[in-house]
C-alpha cells in the first residue's frame, strides 16, 4: 500500500487518510483530491485533462466509436489486476472490438465514505499505467462520495471515444457460414482469479486475471489483411455467452470443438472443484474473432506473433444449420447445445 507521506504533495491530504463526505462536496476537499491524488496518480495519461466543465479534443476526420461501462468488482484487488486496470482495459476493449483506435477516456468515481486514500491512490496509479499502456488519454472525470454503506469502497465508470479507419467495419451481420472462429488466448482466468481471491480459495497455483488491452492485437490483425467479420471480447458470461449472442444476432449456427478451446489446467481444476463450466467463466483480455475461411490460418499466425495472442486457437466454424444455436463437439465425439447462463455464475466480477 502506498505511504501517503511519499505523495507528490501530501500536505492537503495527509490529515485525512480516508474519504469523507467532504471529498464529494465540490469544494476544497474535492479539488485537493483531483490535484493531489488523481492527477499525479494518472500521470502522463492525464496531461491536458480538463479542469473546466468539459474537455475539447481534436480527433481528425472520420467516424468515432463511443462506449461506456461501470465497474463494481469485489475484491478491488485480485491476482493480475485491480478495479482500476479493469476500468481502463474493459472500455479500451469495447472500443477495440469495433475496430476503433481508443483515444480518450473519461472516469467517474463513486467513492464510499471511509475508503482509505492509499487504496484510492493505488487504484488511480493502476489506471494511469493502464491508460499509458493502451495509449489513451484521461481527459475528464467526476467524483461523488456516498455515505458508508455496502463496504465495497468504490465504483468506477469509464466512457471512451475511439476513431475508426474508413475501411473498417466489424459487425455481427457480416458473419456467414464457413467463417472460422478464433479465440485469442486461454479462457477463464479472470473469473477464477477473482473468485479465488474473494472466497480465499487456494488452488495450489495462483491464477492471474487475463485483464489486458486488446486494441493493438486487433489493429495488428486488421493491418495483416485478414478478412475479419466481427470481434467480441469475452467478459461476463465467458466464451459461451459471446458465441450465443453472436449466433443469435447474426442468425447463424456455430459449432466448435471443446478440445480445441484453450483452458489453462489450473482453471480447469478450479472449475472442476467449484462445479463451474470454463466456457461461462469471465475473461477481461481475451476475444473471439470471426474470419473468412481462407484467412483463418493467416489470422492465427498473426495472433501467435503478437504478445496478446500467443495462446490463440481456431476452435470452430459458422454453419448454416440451426441458426441462433451454438453446438459444442465434445472430446468423446458427442455433441451438446451450449446455452448462455441464465443468471450470475459468480457475482461482481467486473
Amino acid at each position: 500500500m502506498t505511504d501517503p507521506s511519499t505523495w507528490s504533495c501530501p500536505l492537503p491530504l495527509a490529515d485525512q487518510p480516508v474519504i469523507t463526505m467532504a471529498h464529494g462536496g465540490g469544494g476544497q476537499r474535492s479539488a485537493d483530491l483531483v490535484e493531489h491524488l488523481f492527477l499525479p496518480a494518472f500521470g502522463p495519461a492525464a496531461a491536458g485533462a480538463a479542469l473546466t466543465d468539459a474537455a475539447v479534443v481534436e480527433l481528425g476526420p472520420g467516424r468515432v466509436a463511443c462506449t461506456t461501462d461501470s465497474y463494481v468488482v469485489q475484491p478491488l484487488f485480485f491476482p493480475g489486476g485491480d478495479i482500476g486496470t479493469l476500468a481502463i482495459n474493459g472500455t479500451v476493449n469495447d472500443l477495440a472490438m469495433v475496430g476503433a483506435r481508443p483515444r480518450v477516456l473519461t472516469t467517474a468515481f463513486v467513492l464510499e465514505e471511509g475508503l482509505e486514500l492509499a487504496v484510492l491512490d493505488r487504484i488511480a496509479r493502476s489506471m494511469g499505467r493502464a491508460a499509458a499502456a493502451a495509449d489513451v488519454r484521461l481527459l475528464a472525470g467526476d467524483t461523488k462520495v456516498i455515505e458508508r454503506s455496502s463496504g465495497d469502497g468504490l465504483y468506477i465508470t469509464t466512457s471512451g471515444i475511439g476513431t475508426v479507419d474508413p475501411d473498417i467495419t466489424l459487425e455481427p451481420a457480416q458473419i456467414q457460414p464457413g467463417d472460422r472462429i478464433l479465440v485469442s488466448g486461454p479462457i477463464g482466468r479472470h473469473g477464477v482469479a477473482v473468485l479465488s481471491r474473494r472466497e480465499g480459495l487456494e488452488f495450489g497455483t495462483t491464477i492471474e486475471s487475463d485483464c489486458a488491452p486488446l486494441h493493438d492485437l486487433v489493429q495488428t490483425l486488421l493491418a495483416g489483411g485478414t478478412t475479419t467479420r466481427a470481434l467480441r471480447d469475452l467478459t461476463r458470461g465467458g466464451l459461451a455467452t459471446a458465441l450465443c449472442e453472436l449466433a443469435e444476432t447474426a442468425s447463424v449456427g456455430i459449432e466448435f470443438d471443446e478440445a480445441l478451446v484453450p483452458v489453462p489446467e489450473p482453471v480447469r481444476a478450479a472449475c472442476g472443484f467449484l462445479g463451474l463450466d470454463p466456457l461461462v467463466v469471465a475473461n477481461e483480455g481475451t476475444m473471439v474473432a470471426f474470419v473468412a475461411p481462407s484467412d483463418a490460418e493467416h489470422a492465427l499466425a498473426t495472433m501467435h506473433a503478437h504478445h496478446r495472442g500467443r495462446g490463440a486457437a481456431i476452435i470452430g466454424e459458422v454453419v448454416a444449420e440451426n441458426p441462433g444455436s451454438v453446438v459444442a463437439r465434445t472430446a468423446l465425439g458427442g455433441r451438446r447445445v451450449v446455452l448462455r447462463p441464465l443468471g450470475e455464475q459468480l457475482p461482481r466480477i467486473c
Binding site: 472466497e199 480447469r268 472430446a331 465425439g333 458427442g334 441464465l342
Partner: protein, 375 residues
C-alpha cells in the same frame, strides 16, 4: 488435473463404446441416479454415442430438484427475517418457491449468503453473535456428513445462534420406490458414487437381490460413466443382478466409517416428502433429539408451512422415469429454465433442463461436418 483428466481420454472411451456395442443384443433402459452423472452424460454427449437400443433415464438424484416446495417456502420465510443470516449453496438461490425465491428475498432486504461449506456458516455464527445464522442443509448422503459436523461443531463451541434447515434425502429408498412402482421400466441402476463413498455398498445388495436389478456404483468422469453403463449392460445381457463397484478409487465396501459414525450420532431416519414424487417412507434424515435445538424449522416455527405442488408439473413422473420430459404438456411452453414450474427445469442437472437444451437443436451427427476442418 492429474488422475482426473485421464478419465476423459477419448481413445479409452472409444474402446468402452466398442465393447458396449458388441454387448447389446436388445433394448435396455438404465437410470443414472445422480444429477452429477446426468450432467456428465449431457455435457460430454455420452447419450448420443450409445447404441440406439440403450436408453438413459435421468433419475431423482439432484437435491435441488427433489427438495419439496414446502421446504423452499420455509427457507424463504426464515431468510426474510431481519435477525437471520441465511446461508446456502449457490444453486438453491434460484429454486422457485410458491411465490418467490431466495434471490428475490435477498433483493427485498434479506441477508442471504452463498457459502461453500456449512462450516463457513458456523464461522459466520461465531463472528455474528447478535444474529441468527441458518444453513440450508439440502442434499443426499454425500453432503450430510459436513452438515452433521457443522452441527456438532456449533454445539461444542456453544454457538446457540446457529441452526440448520434440514432436508436430507437418501438414495436406497428412492431406488426402491422407483423399482417397485407399477410403471417402472428401469432395467438397471447406476448408483451415485459419492453417496457410496460415505455409506458403502451394504444397503444396495438387498435391493439388487429382491428386485432383480443390477446396481452399478458409478463415478462421474466420462470413462466412469461409460464403464458403469458397460457393466450394467453386461449383467443384463448375462441375466445377472448384483451390486458392482465400478468406482473403487473412491468407494470402499464399508464406506467411510468416521462419516457414518457422525451421521449415526446426529441423524435418525424419517419419512420425507420428495418434490413431485410424494412422501417416501424412511427416505430422509432429521436431527436426533439431543440436536433438535439446532433445527431451524423448529426454532423459527416454520414446520407448519405447507405448499401444494403445481398440478401442471409432471416432475414426479419424470424423476421416476415414467415419462420423458418432452412428454409433459407444460414442457417448453409454460415451463422453461427461465420460468420453471418444477425443480427439474431449474437445475442444470435437472432432467427437464437437460432435455430443454437438447430440444432446440437436432444433435444427431451429420456426416462430414465434424472436425474435418481442423488439424
Amino acid at each position: 488435473m492429474k488422475y482426473v483428466a485421464e478419465f476423459g481420454a477419448p481413445e479409452l472411451a472409444q474402446r468402452l463404446l466398442d465393447e458396449i456395442r458388441a454387448t447389446v443384443t436388445q433394448p435396455w433402459t438404465l437410470m443414472e441416479v445422480c444429477g452429477g452423472q446426468t450432467h456428465a452424460i449431457i455435457s460430454h454427449g455420452i447419450d448420443q454415442l450409445l447404441p440406439e437400443s440403450v436408453e438413459l433415464v435421468h433419475g431423482p438424484g439432484c437435491p435441488v430438484c427433489v427438495t419439496p416446495l414446502a421446504l423452499i417456502d420455509q427457507s424463504l420465510a426464515i431468510a426474510a427475517r431481519p435477525e437471520v443470516i441465511f446461508c446456502s449453496f449457490g444453486d438453491m438461490l434460484r429454486v422457485p418457491g410458491s411465490a418467490s425465491d431466495l434471490y428475490r428475498v435477498r433483493a427485498e432486504g434479506g441477508d442471504v449468503r452463498v457459502v461453500y461449506s456449512p462450516l463457513d456458516a458456523v464461522e459466520l455464527a461465531a463472528a455474528n453473535p447478535d444474529r441468527e445464522v441458518v444453513f440450508f442443509g439440502v442434499g443426499f448422503e454425500t453432503t450430510a456428513p459436513a452438515n452433521a459436523l457443522a452441527i456438532r461443531t456449533a454445539r461444542d463451541r456453544g454457538l446457540g445462534n446457529f441452526s440448520v434447515l434440514i432436508s436430507h434425502v437418501l438414495v436406497p429408498p428412492a431406488i426402491e420406490a422407483i423399482v417397485t412402482s407399477p410403471d417402472c421400466r428401469v432395467d438397471a441402476f447406476l448408483a451415485a458414487g459419492h453417496v457410496c463413498t460415505v455409506m458403502g455398498l451394504d444397503q444396495y445388495e438387498p435391493l439388487a437381490q429382491a428386485h432383480g436389478v443390477p446396481i452399478i456404483v458409478t463415478g462421474f468422469e466420462p470413462l466412469d460413466v461409460l464403464d458403469g453403463i458397460r457393466r450394467a449392460l453386461g449383467q443384463l445381457e448375462r441375466g445377472e443382478a448384483v451390486v458392482e463397484n465400478a468406482y473403487p478409487r473412491a468407494v470402499q465396501a464399508a464406506g467411510n466409517a468416521a462419516a457414518r459414525a457422525t451421521l449415526e450420532d446426529v441423524f435418525e431416519t424419517t419419512d420425507r416428502q420428495w418434490r413431485g414424487i410424494g412422501t417416501i417412507d424412511r427416505s430422509g434424515w432429521r436431527l436426533r433429539p439431543p440436536y433438535r435445538a439446532f433445527d431451524a424449522a423448529i426454532r423459527f416455527a416454520v414446520d407448519e408451512i405447507t405448499a401444494p405442488e403445481s398440478e401442471r408439473c409432471q416432475a414426479g413422473a419424470v424423476l421416476q422415469g415414467h415419462i420423458r420430459p418432452t412428454e409433459c404438456p407444460a414442457f417448453g411452453e409454460e415451463c422453461t429454465p427461465a420460468s420453471p414450474l418444477g425443480a427439474p427445469m431449474v437445475s442444470a442437472e435437472g432432467a427437464c433442463a437437460a432435455y430443454y437444451s437438447h430440444r432446440r437443436v437436432d444433435l444427431r451427427r451429420r456426416e462430414g461436418t465434424a472436425r474435418a476442418n481442423h488439424s
